[in-house]
């Protein structure tokens, strides 16, 4: 078992990892940028080392300083959290070479899944259905037109190295295709340093459903059911829930079984999430795999009663899976709302000082956050300031619980997404579970569309 872990992250996830370590009796080392000197992860870790200036490229992404800290503080392992270095194959490789356990899959697995086009063809080869599209990146206009017309419009153009919604464009016609391809390539080049894009079939009313998996280093793997994350803005998730309204125990067992077989074949270890697009006929199409713990992991924790971060650490330490598939039970319904420091209408970030703060409690309510009254939301990092997660015996109960928790959440000084969450929760289509990835885009369009949807 590990004695000491370095937490290579900040904010709520750094705290979440510290909670798990404290409960396991493992010492923690926090790293922080100059902007985070007074942050809670620094305060609650056993040790803390400043690793650079505010800019994340010089601090939370500074591999030499993080590895030096790990060596100086003599840790056994590094937990990367999500974002930052969590999906850097190079960082995982440096950890492996420095004999520090990277709490996640192998650098090889990260590299495979990081190349979205390669991941898709590999997972398709071992039995997961994918959307029809170009197997590889598109180089010429001619190739683009041939591919798009073979699979039929609308199509979506995506960056090979993509993520977070950047470098994605939908095209409904040949004209749109060529201009969108150029924009997507330019966006991909500036955001990821690689302009390569691929094309696939676009589903108009698709749901985003993902399957949580967990695998040990002894060849055992299980799934922990699904999370539905169809409420997104610009491909960034805003509300997540489990179970999905379209899921039945039979369908879950069928999809889960195929996913577990696929990850066993790849030799994947630690936790991971396979994201699928699901059409109106409940067909699952594999999109990508995230090789890290996810922001929305508490939703799965509330319906299964399993501590994912704890298990992640145990697996990395070489333990066998603590659960068998037949022991996994799904109880009730969980919802998560991401409270971001941003304008609820324009989605522009709103950093600044939180002047007044009260986070709600009561039955079935969990708040994962590193914010508090007088906390200054720095402008250098992502805008997530709290995750409000609720559990209820039914979806309806969970929605009512979430609504009252949002109502009682006091957060002043910065603009945040609470009003938007309440608007979504009160929408009749959302209440019926009639959701899809473009739901929010349509909700925020002129009223005509909103009425039509309801």
């Amino acid at each position: 078992m590990f004695r000491k872990i370095l937490v290579a992250n900040r904010g709520e996830i750094a705290l979440r990892i510290i909670y798990a370590c404290k409960e396991l009796g493992i010492k923690t080392v926090a790293v922080f940028s100059e902007a985070d000197r007074h942050a809670l992860h620094v305060r609650f870790a056993d040790e803390a080392i400043c690793i650079g200036p505010s800019k994340s490229s010089d601090s939370y992404l500074n591999i030499p300083n993080i590895i030096s800290t790990a060596e100086l503080s003599n840790v056994d392992a590094i937990h990367p959290g999500y974002g930052f270095l969590s999906e850097s194959a190079y960082f995982a490789e440096v950890c492996e070479a420095s004999r520090i356990k990277f709490i996640g899959p192998s650098s090889e697995a990260i590299r495979l899944m990081g190349d979205k086009a390669r991941a898709r063809s590999e997972m398709n080869r071992i039995g997961l259905p994918v959307l029809p599209g170009s197997a590889d990146s598109i180089h010429t206009d001619k190739e683009a037109i041939a591919t798009a017309e073979a699979i039929g419009y609308p199509v979506i153009i995506k960056a090979v190295a993509g993520g977070g919604g950047r470098g994605m464009r939908v095209a409904h016609s040949r004209n749109e295709l060529l201009s969108s391809l150029k924009t997507a390539q330019a966006e991909a080049a500036s955001a990821f340093g690689a302009p390569q894009c691929y094309i696939e079939k676009f589903i108009e009313r698709a749901r985003h459903i993902e399957i949580q998996v967990m695998a040990d280093e002894h060849g055992n793997a299980i799934h922990l059911g699904e999370r539905e994350c169809s409420i997104q803005r610009r491909h960034q998730k805003l509300i997540e829930e489990a179970p999905s309204v379209i899921m039945t125990p039979e369908l879950r067992a069928e999809v889960g079984c195929r996913v577990v077989q696929a990850i066993k074949k790849t030799g994947y270890t630690n936790v991971g999430t396979l994201e699928f697009l699901v059409d109106e006929k409940r067909q699952f199409y594999f999109m990508e795999m995230n090789t890290r713990i996810q922001v929305e992991h508490p939703v799965t924790e509330l319906v299964t009663g399993i501590d994912l971060i704890r298990d992640q650490i145990l697996i990395a330490a070489g333990d066998r899976l603590p659960h068998r598939q037949e022991d996994i039970q799904f109880r009730g319904h969980a919802l998560e709302c991401r409270i971001n420091a941003e304008d609820p209408v324009t989605h522009r970030p709103s950093p600044g000082k939180i002047t007044s703060w009260y986070s709600p409690g009561g039955p079935g309510v969990r708040v994962d956050t590193a914010a508090h009254a007088e906390y200054v939301v720095p402008p250098h990092y992502d805008s997530l300031i709290a995750k409000l997660i609720v559990h209820g015996s039914t979806r309806d109960e969970a929605i009512r619980r979430m609504d009252r928790a949002l109502e009682m959440f006091v957060l002043e000084g910065v603009k945040c997404t609470i009003p938007l969450h309440r608007q979504i929760l009160h929408n009749p289509a959302f209440r019926k579970g009639n959701i899809y990835t473009k739901f929010l885009e349509h909700l925020q369009e002129p009223r005509v569309r909103a009425v039509e949807m309801a």
């Binding site: 400043c50 601090s59 030499p64």
Partner: protein, 151 residues
């Protein structure tokens, strides 16, 4: 005094460049706002009770003297995380000692990070006033290593 009043007072000070310092005492609360070099007002409040317990705080000359002294010194800060060494190897003399005069670009110490020895050079010419870290100690990013009185 509530938060809104406090904000208004700070706004007045920050928007009016002719005000260097402002001190207010009102119903048991004492507020002092002073313009700092990077133009955001630095704020310090203290209850009257704690001021009464240490009356010297209010005497102006002492703090300004401290300020004058710190302004003279230049601090060399660690650009990386690593282990601090005063000498190139355990048997050698330290690169510099207190009282030495150094030039801009003189090597002051070594910081070992990931098995690499990084020589840290002085950014100013002047006299070493103090060595702030002990040989062999770990240092973090931005940690003060040397105080130098610039020439």
């Amino acid at each position: 005094m509530n938060l809104k009043e406090l904000k208004e007072i700070i706004d007045i000070v920050t928007s009016n460049e002719s005000i260097e310092e402002l001190e207010i005492e009102k119903s048991g609360v004492r507020l002092r706002i002073r313009r700092s070099s990077n133009h955001v007002g630095s704020v310090s409040t203290a209850s009257v009770a704690s001021i009464a317990a240490s009356p010297t705080i209010t005497s102006a000359p002492a703090p300004s003297k401290v300020l004058a002294e710190t302004e003279e010194l230049f601090y060399i800060k660690s650009p990386i995380v690593g282990t601090f060494y005063t000498a190139p190897n355990p048997d050698s003399e330290p690169f510099v000692s207190v009282g030495d005069m150094v030039e801009k670009g003189s090597v002051l110490c070594i910081i070992e990070a990931m098995k690499l020895m990084n020589e840290i050079e002085s950014e100013v010419a002047g006299e070493i006033v103090s060595v702030l870290v002990e040989n062999g100690q770990p240092v973090e990013y931005g940690e003060r290593l040397f105080a130098i009185r610039p020439r």
